[in-house]
């Protein structure tokens, strides 16, 4: 126990993170379940409006700040970034451990707030409601997010320094696996964006505790300033959530079609482009809140622009498949799920980025569906792809392929059944954050809740068979997929210092001629 809680080994810290974010995922899932059950009937009889407000707030807070943001970077990134560049560890192992403790402390603060009575501001904490009127546990929650934010900053800082300073001999920038590029771009956003969220929360905190007035309209303050500051972080934050997933997909698509990623440099640079452009579009969340029409047009245009690098990725993945020798192993199934769902999410992003359409669908279920297609359909699919792909390396055990394929299928179907009806609901005018609704929406809501049940089963399956495999799974060889990355050149699971012999890199990232001789056991 102690050797775990005081470990400086990035692989163990990754496992600590894995356990932590999984807990938060199921906590957030519990809130989602209550929301969906409540929405089965139009009268809204199960919980009071106050409770409902708290449910969707706590769902959003848990999922965004305590699950999605740390998910891929802090677990898979932590475990594999050093391995993939041939390093013994991250540059700052103690800071890495500290960052895990910060996430736990932040999580406990938020959990305390939830148990003590909950928060009802929405995950967006809009002022002046959050600063002046809400009677719920805003302060504790904001503090929790603040602390967790520093966890995220420190992870990003650690990754950037590691990529700059710790690459193995011969591991040039353009030989790095694309997952590393995506982690690097993500880290840039974490480092540049999160402090702005932090200071915004500090101001909200001061306003609630010391009654100073910065966003208070009664004093002449501007509550919309809060929205600008919040979205200056939170739009880039959506890329903190999705870029790591894109990195996973690049790895998986390449391995299971046994081809080098088409247009490697484009895919690498598109990650950086997304990181940079992502900072210029926050105004598309303010189309209907006092922003001038001129500013709205500029932000709308820039939002179209930011879709280009994402599209480059999708096209390049598809081109990678072309004439590849494709195998439909579980990670690949999840990756296909990602590409389809992310594309729908991204395209509807363009819908809501158009001024005219957004005025109609803003604050409706259309927006809910849009971002769930990306955050759940995209990021969580990619996370599952990555978990299956790297599970043999992390644990030294294979998962049961048949069950895993089934889970990919169940999740894909359950997901679409849950969220596709929400596009229609939103288009028809169902507002978000309401639990009483007109009768004619009930059919679609029931479909969505039914889908959510399927989805829940889909998520429980990996939970069970992953744990099962720890004891009963077949022993994993060093390189079960015949992949090229350095992480596959060491034992499964890797020894404490990662490599028995310091690696020297002589090839491009996805040169499958180098692994010709190795066994390939794909189910």
């Amino acid at each position: 126990m102690k050797s775990w809680l005081l470990t400086k080994d990035h692989k163990r810290i990754a496992v600590l993170y894995l356990a932590t974010v999984t807990l938060f995922f199921f906590l957030g899932g519990a809130f989602a379940t209550l929301i969906r059950v409540e929405l089965l009937t139009p009268q809204g009889g199960l919980v009071s409006s106050e409770t409902y407000n708290k449910l969707f707030t706590m769902h959003g807070v848990t999922m965004v700040f305590f699950f999605l943001i740390p998910s891929i970077p802090a677990t898979l990134g932590n475990f594999f970034l050093p391995l993939m560049i041939g390093a013994r560890d991250l540059a700052f192992p103690r800071i890495n451990l500290l960052s895990w403790y910060l996430l736990v402390i932040g999580g406990l603060l938020a959990l305390f707030a939830m148990l003590a009575g909950g928060v009802d501001t929405g995950w967006t904490f809009y002022t002046p409601y959050s600063t002046t009127y809400s009677n719920s546990w805003v302060i504790a929650t904001a503090l929790g997010i603040f602390v967790a934010g520093f966890s995220s900053i420190l992870t990003g800082l650690n990754f950037i320094v590691t990529v700059h300073r710790m690459r193995a001999p011969g591991m040039t920038w353009f030989r790095m696996p694309l997952f590393v590029w995506s982690m690097y771009a993500t880290s840039l956003i974490q480092v540049l964006g999160t402090p702005v969220l932090a200071v915004t929360l500090v101001l909200v905190f001061c306003e609630r505790v010391f009654h100073i007035g910065i966003f208070d309209p009664a004093l002449g303050g501007d509550p919309v300033l809060f929205q600008h500051l919040f979205w200056f972080y939170s739009h880039p934050a959506v890329y903190i959530m999705v870029l790591p997933g894109m990195g996973v997909i690049s790895e998986v698509i390449s391995v299971f079609s046994r081809k080098s990623v088409f247009g490697y440099a484009f895919v690498a640079f598109s990650s950086v482009a997304i990181a940079v452009l992502g900072f210029l579009v926050w105004g598309h969340h303010l189309f209907v809140s006092t922003q001038s029409v001129y500013a709205g047009m500029v932000f709308s245009f820039l939002s179209y622009f930011v879709a280009i690098p994402s599209a480059i990725k999708v096209f390049n993945w598809t081109a990678t498949l072309y004439k590849g020798s494709i195998s439909f192993a579980t990670p690949m199934l999840y990756a296909f799920g990602f590409i389809g769902l992310f594309t729908i999410g991204g395209l509807t992003g363009l819908f809501v980025a158009s001024l005219g359409i957004d005025v109609h669908v803003t604050d409706t279920y259309f927006v809910i569906a849009h971002f769930h297609y990306i955050m759940v359909g995209g990021t969580i699919m990619a996370y599952m792809a990555g978990m299956h792909y790297w599970w043999p390396k992390m644990t030294g055990r294979m998962y049961p392929e048949g069950w895993a394929k089934l889970s990919a299928l169940v999740i894909f179907l359950g997901f679409n059944l849950t969220f596709f009806p929400q596009f229609i609901l939103g288009y028809l005018g169902m507002p978000r954050r309401y639990h009483v609704y007109p009768d004619e929406f009930q059919v679609l809501h029931v479909l969505s809740t039914a889908g959510a049940s399927v989805l829940a089963v889909g998520y429980l399956m990996p939970m069970i068979y992953f744990i099962w495999s720890l004891r009963y799974g077949a022993l994993a060889p060093a390189n079960p997929w015949g992949a090229t990355g350095l992480e596959w050149k060491t034992a499964s699971p890797p020894p404490v210092h990662n490599f028995d012999e310091a690696p020297v890199v002589t090839h491009e990232a996805y040169d499958y001629s180098t692994v010709m001789g190795e066994v390939i056991e794909v189910g």
């Binding site: 050797s3 400086k8 390093a87 013994r88 560890d89 991250l90 540059a91 700052f92 192992p93 800071i95 900053i153 800082l157 650690n158 950037i160 320094v161 590691t162 700059h164 300073r165 710790m166 480092v191 540049l192 964006g193 999160t194 402090p195 702005v196 932090a198 200071v199 915004t200 500090v202 101001l203 001061c206 306003e207 010391f210 009654h211 100073i212 007035g213 910065i214 009664a218 004093l219 002449g220 303050g221 501007d222 300033l225 500051l229 200056f232 404490v496 210092h497």
Partner: protein
């Protein structure tokens, strides 16, 4: 654990190949941290700019109620402390233990002097009812609301800056003890070096705060 078997030293942790690589990494890490700090303060500078643009007259009046003499003195104090910090880093490079301690102690004293003057200033604000809240009152403006916003910004910005100073004082104290115990040598003085970066950064923030909060009425006449 296996880590100790490798016999790691302070100057060469096990994950690095050479002392130089480690020093580079630490320095880069500190610079990135400072960038996050710029973004952190940046949010507040943005809020300040927006409101100053909304209420230029009130901001000018409110800022002229500040004691520019104390502000200027504090600026001088911090500039001197940056100088002593540089001298400490220099002494660390040369491995002169006593001189490091001397200059670190001087830096520490100057830092505490800054905090003392700041505390005095805040206290005066309390007496003058310039603290945001029900008792707030500022003479010479039509509306008290925007004036409260100015002082909210003032307290938030100088408060966070002071908090950074307190952290700096803590770091200096630790450095002094560690130097006294002989932890640093000419070959390994990275902590002194990067603590210096941090100290200068906090200093620079003040260099921006001082004119923005104390001197802005000058150009309006």
């Amino acid at each position: 654990m296996a880590s100790d078997a490798h016999g790691e030293t302070l100057a060469l942790r096990e994950q690095f190949d050479s002392e130089e690589q480690q020093k580079d990494a630490s320095t880069l890490g500190m610079w990135i941290f400072l960038i996050t700090e710029i973004m952190f303060f940046g949010g507040m500078f943005l809020a300040y700019s927006v409101y100053r643009n909304f209420y230029p007259h009130v901001f000018a009046v409110a800022s002229s109620s500040m004691n520019a003499i104390i502000g200027a003195t504090n600026t001088g104090v911090l500039l001197c402390s940056s100088f002593t910090m540089v001298m400490a880093v220099r002494a660390a490079q040369l491995g002169q233990r006593k001189i490091i301690i001397l200059f670190l102690v001087l830096t520490l004293i100057l830092g505490i002097a800054f905090l003392g003057l700041k505390a005095y200033e805040w206290n005066v604000k309390f007496e003058e009812h310039h603290v945001p809240g029900p008792a707030f009152h500022l003479d010479g403006v039509d509306t008290q609301g925007p004036a409260q916003i100015f002082f909210s910004m003032y307290f938030a910005m100088t408060g966070l800056h002071a908090l950074h100073m307190v952290v700096g004082v803590g770091i200096l104290t630790w450095l002094i003890i560690a130097t006294y115990k002989g932890r640093f040598t000419a070959g390994y003085m990275t902590p002194v070096d990067i603590a210096g970066l941090y100290w200068h950064f906090v200093d620079i923030i003040w260099i921006f705060l001082f004119p923005l909060l104390y001197l802005i009425d000058r150009h309006l006449g």
